[in-house]
Every structure is written in structure tokens, then in C-alpha cells.
């Protein structure tokens, strides 16, 4: 697991619009040279935030990267 590489990538995707747009246009190209494992690279290419969280991506990032965030909803409670 590449804790730093996964999370610094998530951080840049959240904070830098131009970087995020590059990723959305060509995710495989953008992650090709990053220090990620094959699993991590595949999860980013698939934009699979649940898998990215399971691989060590911080929850608050996977829930807040614009356009890629996971939204979890819950049943009504009294």
C-alpha cells in the first residue's frame, strides 16, 4: 500500500481543478508514472472511491473530491 501516493493524489484531485480535469480526461495516463501499486492504479482508473478507501485513501477525501466523491445515504430514523 502506498499511503502517501494514494492520498497525495486524492488531495491534488480535490484541490487542483486543472489536475482534476487532466485526470478525468485520461486517468490511466495521469496515474501511469505515480508510485502506486497495480491495485491502486486500477482503482483510480476505474474511479472506484470505495476501493481507494479500502486501499488506504482517507475517508474525508474520498467523500469530497469534486465530481468523484462517494455519497452515502441512510434510511430515515425517528
Amino acid at each position: 500500500m502506498s499511503r502517501y501516493a494514494v492520498n497525495s493524489l486524492l488531495y491534488r484531485l480535490k484541490k487542483e481543478r486543472a489536475y482534476r480535469e487532466r485526470f478525468l480526461a485520461d486517468p490511466a495516463g495521469l496515474v501511469a508514472d505515480l508510485d502506486l501499486t497495480d491495485d491502486e492504479r486500477a482503482a483510480f482508473v476505474a474511479r472506484d472511491m470505495r476501493r481507494i478507501n479500502a486501499l488506504g485513501g482517507y475517508l474525508h477525501l474520498v467523500m469530497s473530491v469534486p465530481g468523484l466523491a462517494v455519497h452515502v445515504t441512510h434510511a430515515e430514523r425517528d
Binding site: S8, N53, H60, S64, P66, E76
Partner: protein
């Protein structure tokens, strides 16, 4: 001689739209009920005319990149800006519509920082870090339309392991109390976040909260029993979704052994919302 004139802790996503989206109308109703109690707490705070408001909260990987993750960080300087997030999602949207800039209480912040270093707390400092919903959602709810009290934002690293221990945060709170006592100011202090939510910070566990653990914590707070709190571990806080209770530990250290009144506690499934106010001598 200075005094802590107000102390409270509260949940910090105070956004009815967010909870309606996530939890339906009952989510909206519960956070609105919690906010009503926080507004009443704010009226009591403002009646004390505090010179400064210390806000102990956490960073949601917004203010600090992976360039550095401080365990405890004091925001110094004259102003602080709110975080701006383009195309904000989820909890980041709670900031929209809030003022862009807030005044700081520069002298108190400097005393906390400089005296802290002398006292053995190797504190980080920041002149530039912006503040997110963890600070501003409670601050704006407490103040309503009133001018915002000069702030002293303090970050605790609640999420990026290894975090400071609960005992260390409590000891830092004792330091805050000694700085206030030595100064000339009347000071309010709030801690934000929680209660139980997002155990282990894992998506499959979003929707779980440990109500029994919350009730144990609140029982200790109501009785002013602070010794058991100092024995908690960061591992326990992670497992139970109480990461942000580290912020509360700093406040508890600042006001110990004061007992607390629970003004609001509500179970949402996603999170247990809470608002707690301490009875100060």
C-alpha cells in the same frame, strides 16, 4: 487575571441540507434541534462578552496537505480566511455563504504558542492555514447575526495516524487554562466534532455509530469524572468513531474538573449529534 467564561463542545456539520440529503427529513429535524441549542448557548456566551474565542477543531485534509501534518497547531496572525473549495461536495458545502475573513486574537494566540513551547509543548504554528467547517459552522451558529468574537483556531490531528493521545490533548488543555489565567482576557473556548461516526474511517462503516460509548463519555462529562477519559487510547477512538473527541479532550483539560450539561444528543445512524456546555465556577 483572565477567566474562561464559556466552554462548550458540539458537532460541527451544522447544515440542515447536508443531513437531509444524507439522512432524510429526520436528519434535517435533528440537526436543526441541535442548532437551536447551540444558538442558545451562543447567546449565553455573548452575554459574557468574551475578548477571544479559542476554537479547538480538526483538519479534514483541507488546511494541511501531506507536506506536513501537525499534531497540534496554533493559528497566529491577524486574520484567518475560510477555506474555499471549487465545486464543493458534501460537508465542504457547509461553508458556502459564510464571510471570507475573520479576525484573530493575536496576543492570546501568541501567548498560547510561545508559553506552550516553554512549557514543553512542541506546537506547530501557521500564519496561512484557512479554516473549514469544523471551525466555522459552530462559530457562525453560536454568533448568529452578532459580530464574530476574535478567534484563536487550534488544530488537533484527529485523522492521520499517529495522532496525539487523549492524555496529551488533556494536558494541552491544562496549558490553555494556565495561559488564560495568566492573561487579562475573558475567554470562551469551544471544541468541535463528533460524537461517534465513521468508525475506522472506512466507507462500509459509514452509517454506524457507537451510542453506548457516547453515553459513557457523556456520563463522565456530566459528573466531571475526567480521569477515565485520560486513559482512552487513539485505537479506541478509531474503533468507535470518536476521532474528533481529541478536540474535546483539550477543552476538558482546560475546564477540569467542571461538570457538563448535555444540551442535545440525537442519534442519526450516520452520526450522533451533540451539544454540551460546561458549568464553570
Amino acid at each position: 487575571m483572565g477567566r474562561i467564561v464559556f466552554a462548550a463542545a458540539m458537532s460541527h456539520v451544522l447544515d440542515p441540507d447536508y443531513y437531509q440529503d444524507a439522512c432524510g427529513l429526520s436528519g434535517r429535524r435533528k440537526v436543526e434541534a441541535c442548532m437551536t441549542e447551540i444558538r442558545a448557548m451562543g447567546a449565553r456566551m455573548l452575554a459574557q462578552r468574551p475578548d477571544a474565542l479559542i476554537v479547538v477543531a480538526d483538519d479534514h485534509l483541507n488546511a494541511f496537505s501531506f507536506n506536513a501534518v501537525p499534531a497540534l497547531c496554533v493559528r497566529i496572525g491577524r486574520h484567518v480566511d475560510r477555506m474555499v473549495q471549487e465545486e464543493a461536495e458534501a460537508f465542504d458545502r457547509a461553508l458556502e455563504g459564510m464571510p471570507a475573513r475573520y479576525g484573530l486574537h493575536e496576543d492570546l494566540a501568541n501567548r498560547i504558542l510561545e508559553d506552550g513551547m516553554t512549557a514543553g509543548f512542541d506546537l506547530a504554528l501557521s500564519w496561512e492555514a484557512p479554516i473549514d467547517h469544523a471551525f466555522l459552522s459552530p462559530v457562525m451558529t453560536l454568533h448568529g447575526q452578532a459580530p464574530v468574537t476574535p478567534l484563536v483556531p487550534i488544530w488537533v490531528n484527529c485523522f492521520v495516524a499517529p495522532q496525539p493521545t487523549p492524555a496529551r490533548c488533556f494536558a494541552f488543555g491544562r496549558h490553555l487554562a494556565s495561559v488564560v489565567a495568566a492573561g487579562p482576557w475573558n475567554v470562551g473556548i469551544i471544541a468541535t466534532g463528533g460524537l461517534s461516526h465513521f468508525p475506522q474511517l472506512l466507507l462500509p462503516r459509514v452509517g454506524e455509530s457507537d451510542t453506548a460509548f457516547d453515553r459513557r463519555l457523556l456520563g463522565w462529562l456530566e459528573k466531571g469524572e475526567h480521569a477515565p477519559l485520560q486513559s482512552l487510547t487513539t485505537g479506541e477512538l478509531d474503533k468507535t468513531g470518536e476521532h474528533e473527541f481529541l478536540n474535546w479532550m483539550a477543552l476538558i483539560g482546560a475546564v477540569t474538573p467542571a461538570p457538563a450539561d448535555v444540551r442535545y444528543f440525537g442519534e442519526l445512524g450516520r452520526i450522533n449529534l451533540a451539544a454540551v456546555e460546561w458549568r464553570l465556577a
